[in-house]
Amino acid sequence: MMQITCPHCGPRAQSEFIYERTVDSVVPLDAAPEQAMATLFARTNPRGVDEEIWRHTYGCRAWLIMTRHRVTNEISATRAVGPEALP
């Protein structure tokens, strides 16, 4: 079980979080059909660092983006998303 640093709550056990999807699997609202299909059905699945979307479901419920190495599980960064994180 990993330890994930929630941008709002600090370090917490992975059991408080839910993995949602990778950042590159998000279909932009204005995507052309081909782009949308490629995003949905052709994932990169890298053996290395990837950006993932998680949710602190059993905590503050906020969504976050986590940079994780998918072999070593090293988490190099987590950052907040949502209205509060807008510039």
Binding site: M1, M2, Q14, V26, L29, N73, V81, P83
Partner: protein, 927 residues
């Protein structure tokens, strides 16, 4: 030096093994107590039912597996070396019938030549029928203990902890490290699987002894450290999380606190592994017999427990450590008849032993032992190429030391080969873990090549794998260590190959003509030792794991004694039977009342979201695939939602309560998914929108009133003209503010009343009084299902099953033509418009009742072309009708098919029809 920890004052407690009562002393393991009582035969092996005794003094024990405890507390496959005797302990041997001494299953031993590696694969390959026949007998014959059939009466608890340094193993290295860290001000947790501290100091007290260990422990505690005994670090997970399994009671024992075991999740800043090593056996013929024991184990029984495991002892070794065993056994009164040292030269220890008068033979490797069922009688060895034999009742063997690297490897660590010790030792790790003591620096040994007949030379004792099995796997082409493991089942027993892995690797490397590190190693995975299922479940084991939520109106329903049905997290009334009514009778009466008069039901569990703000309509037109923004204030509409790939995943209604305030409802079962989806769009996809989306699912209770007489009921309740279909008004019922929506799932004129949950009871009471005044009744989920099927309304999880597009469900006319909703792009995929897709149809029985879940076929033996998603009856006229999905169903109305359910043994002939069986024009919604 402190003496044995065994209380020397004599027998104090009694225990029972296979129905016979024995005496033990406090502090004894079951193995020590059995040896003290002269019990040599303790179990039967897994496959060949060979007689087995006690081989070790620790958790690595492969042979002495017993069932401890009675009833729900019984723990099968418990190592006799890893349970401390308590008064009244009950233990039973396993895998034998009718008894341990005379075991009918031992005939398998005669068949051993046929039962070698891959026996099952070869014998049962290809013919399922033969397997079905043999399986019964094989399942009966194979295996060890039986799982208890009663519920465990004890509790299992879980606890989380944090520390700066976690030290695993309280031997000299672990204690020393814990002491240093604790006195340096670190938060320390030290765990030890044994009941007392000291580990190797218990059998080898020298300059440090168990008294020193107790002193060190006192200082660690004084510095704020925590020490857990009878606690095993069983798993090393990500980010330095280590799970500990703590025994608060021995197996089968009644726990004083009610808690039998505790599972710890410890997040450590740093982990120090001082896990020591496990002694290896040596392969020789019949090396699995009672009377063959590991050298350090024999020493432990003498020095810790004061039990002498043999009187005439042969020592077989490839290292110096075993000479300590010779000394210990001789001091305790045993005769050392031979020391077989595999090394060609005398070491210092060997020379010392010889000059002390012990019979040391160099270049000597045991080849075979002889004996009866319960004991050993002789040892044969090859000494300088010559065969020599001795009479003996114990052979203490030491084939070297295997560092306990399991946790290091679970942490993602790699291993290095230490050639002097012939062992893998911990190397780098990606986690913050270091290994110290014997686990990092095992004693040097001399590599031994077995000289015995490989057939009876066992390497994996628990799974009955011999050297010959490894040879056979090799001969049949299994080269990789991973294949060897799976083909022979080596290392796959409950001890996970703690004794066997290195012997197998040695043999494989020998066959391959490579060094052991080149032959490779399989991966160690958690748990290090077996973990009770109850411990993993924790408090959830006793029904506490399932979330059951209470309806706001639970008490109101319960007073009417309905039939309950689980739905989402809730139980909802399925029907309210009167008198002797069955479920079907009650549901039909309730549905008929809705069709002809008025009924009311609790719809509180529907998902509900309040969406407000200047961008509320924009937001909803992303979520919903229909238009929303065009709704006038006070109006509502049916809507549905799509996944990004264009597939429908939920449906509901959306209502414009105010200029910038909407209420969205969706299905009960999909509520969590919808909440996540809404949160995703709000937080991730469109954070710039000025909108608030609040989950009000349990904030509001909901009451539906439906039927031709629903309008007068609602007029009376709100003392005003009730809204027309798909309109909403704020109102008051019984002085409580409510939202009234005119919407219909049943197909009749109907209303939904939403009220703050804490005021639900008084509003329900007012509604019920008015419905009763109109001779109406309550209806449950079963009647609701009848009504909606007849009307052809969809249910999420039934017709909306995660495979259907809006086109397949005939909803495409409602799609927002401007697009822009989630799933619009996905829906444009050409494949979704191609022929051959399953489409929503109605089914009308020609003969028989349509079975729910049945497949739709054109004739017997044909491939299914669809299925029945929901079946019911025409409520007033009778007759079986159903909704289904059928390949190209829209163009097949009028066709006759068979609805066949082989699993239920039911079948009906059906006609494909339009899915609306009732009021197709929708006239009954209107006044």
């Amino acid at each position: 030096m402190s003496g044995p920890t065994r209380d020397p004052k004599g027998a104090t407690i009694s225990f029972c093994f296979d129905g016979k009562t024995y005496k033990a002393r406090a502090g004894d393991t079951l193995a020590a107590a059995l040896l003290a009582n002269g019990v040599g035969l303790v179990g039967r092996s897994f496959k060949y039912h060979r007689p087995r005794g006690i081989m070790t003094a620790g958790i690595e024990e492969p042979n002495a597996l017993v069932t401890v405890g009675d009833g729900g507390r019984a723990e099968p496959n418990t190592r006799a070396t890893d349970v401390f005797v308590y008064d009244g302990l009950i233990a039973r041997s396993q895998n034998r019938w009718p008894n341990l001494s005379f075991d009918v299953g031992a005939v398998f031993s005669l068949a051993a030549p046929m039962l070698g590696a891959g026996f099952y694969y070869k014998t049962f390959f290809g013919s399922a029928k033969r397997w079905m026949f043999y399986e019964y007998f094989i399942r009966k014959a194979a295996g060890l203990g039986n799982a208890p059939t009663k519920a465990d009466p004890d509790r299992f608890s879980q606890r989380a902890a944090f520390c700066d340094v976690l030290i695993v193993g309280a031997g000299p290295a672990g204690l020393q490290a814990a002491l240093e860290q604790a006195e340096a001000g670190k938060r320390v947790i030290l765990v030890e699987q044994d009941s007392i501290l000291g580990a190797s100091l218990i059998r080898d007290p020298q300059e440090l002894d168990t008294a020193w260990a107790e002193g060190a422990a006192a200082r660690i505690r004084a510095a704020g450290g925590r020490i857990l005994t009878r606690t095993t670090a069983s798993g090393y997970w990500e980010h330095d999380l280590v799970t500990l399994t703590q025994r608060l009671a021995e197996p089968g024992e009644v726990p004083s606190s009610g808690v039998a075991q505790r599972l710890w999740h410890v997040r450590a800043g740093q982990v120090i592994l001082a896990t020591g090593s496990i002694e290896r056996p040596i392969a020789f013929a019949h090396n699995d017999r009672p009377g063959v024991m590991l050298s350090q184990a024999a020493r432990t029984y003498v020095r810790r427990f004061g039990v002498l495991p043999g009187k005439r002892v042969v020592i077989a070794t490839n290292n110096d450590d075993a000479y300590k065993t010779a000394q210990a056994l001789q001091d305790a009164g045993a005769e050392i008849v031979a020391i077989l040292d595999a090394r060609p030269q005398f070491s210092v220890a060997a020379a010392g032993a010889e000059s002390a008068g012990l019979p040391v033979w160099t270049n000597a490797i045991p080849s075979s032992v002889s004996g009866a069922r319960h004991c050993l009688t002789g040892v044969t060895a090859i000494v300088d190429g010559q065969t020599k034999s001795w009479k003996a009742d114990l052979i203490a063997v030491s084939g070297g030391f295997t560092p306990v690297v399991h946790l290091h490897m679970q942490a993602g660590g790699t291993l290095d080969w230490n050639d002097a010790a012939q062992a893998f030792v911990p190397a780098a790790s990606r986690q913050n873990v270091t290994t110290i003591g014997g686990a990092a620096n095992p004693d040097p040994v001399f590599p031994v090549t077995p000289v015995s007949n490989p057939k009876k030379s066992f390497i994996d004792f628990q799974n009955d794998v011999s050297l010959a099995d490894v040879d056979l796997a090799w001969a049949e082409g299994y080269r990789s260590v991973e294949h060897l493991k799976r083909y022979t089942t080596l290392g796959m027993a409950t001890d996970q190959g703690k004794l066997s892995n290195m012997a197998a690797l040695g043999r494989l490397a020998e066959k391959q003509g490579v060094s052991i590190p080149e032959a490779g190693l399989t991966t160690f995975r958690p748990p290090y030792t077996p973990v009770s299922m109850g411990l993993i479940a924790g408090a959830g084991a006793k029904n506490a794991g399932a979330h059951v939520r209470r309806l706001a109106l639970y008490d109101v329903h319960a007073a009417k004694n309905p039939i309950w049905q689980p739905l989402g997290y809730w139980f909802r009334p399925r029907a309210y039977p009167q008198g002797q009514e069955t479920l079907a009778q009650a549901a039909l009466r309730e549905a008929q009342e809705v069709r002809t008069g008025v009924g009311m039901t609790d719809v509180s569990t529907l998902a509900k979201f309040e969406v407000s703000g200047p961008d509320a309509a924009t937001f909803l037109e992303l979520i919903c695939a229909t238009t929303v923004g065009k709704l006038a204030v006070g109006r509502g509409r049916y809507t549905f939602m799509l996944r990004e790939d264009g597939i429908a995943f939920d449906d509901g209604t959306v209502w414009r309560l105010d200029e910038n305030r909407y209420l969205l409802t969706s299905s009960t079962g999909g509520a969590d998914r919808m909440a996540t989806h809404i949160s995703y769009v709000r937080q991730y996809l469109c954070p710039q929108l000025k909108v608030s989306a609040v989950n009000v699912q349990e904030h509001y209770a909901g009451i539906a009133v439906a039927g031709p007489k629903a309008k007068p009921v609602m007029d009376a309740l709100i003392k005003a003209d009730a809204p027309r279909h798909m309109s909403t008004v704020p109102a008051e019922i019984a002085g409580v503010p409510v939202i009234v929506l005119a919407a219909s799932y049943s197909g009749e004129r109907a209303f939904e009343v939403y009220v703050e949950a804490s005021h639900a009871a008084s509003v329900w009471a007012a509604c019920e009084a008015e419905v009763t005044a109109q001779d109406g009744c309550l209806y449950g989920l079963e009647a609701m299902e009848f009504l909606r099927i007849e009307k052809g309304h969809l249910v999420v999880g039934g017709e909306v099953d995660g495979r259907m597009t809006p086109m397949d469900l005939a909803l495409d006319k409602m799609l927002n033509k401007a697009g822009g909703y989630i799933g619009a792009t996905g829906l444009s995929r050409p494949a979704l418009a191609e022929p051959g897709r399953r489409q929503l149809v109605g089914l009308e029985a020609i003969s028989g009742d349509i079975p729910e879940g049945a497949m739709l076929i054109t004739h017997k033996g044909a491939s299914p072309e669809g299925h029945v998603s929901a079946a019911a009856f025409r409520i007033l006229e009778g007759g079986s009708v159903a909704l289904g999905q059928l390949k190209d169903g829209f163009s097949r109305h009028g066709e006759e098919l068979i609805a066949s359910s082989p699993t239920r043994g039911q079948e009906a002939r059906v006609r494909v029809v339009h899915p609306h069986f009732y009021d197709t024009a929708g006239e009954r919604y209107r006044d």
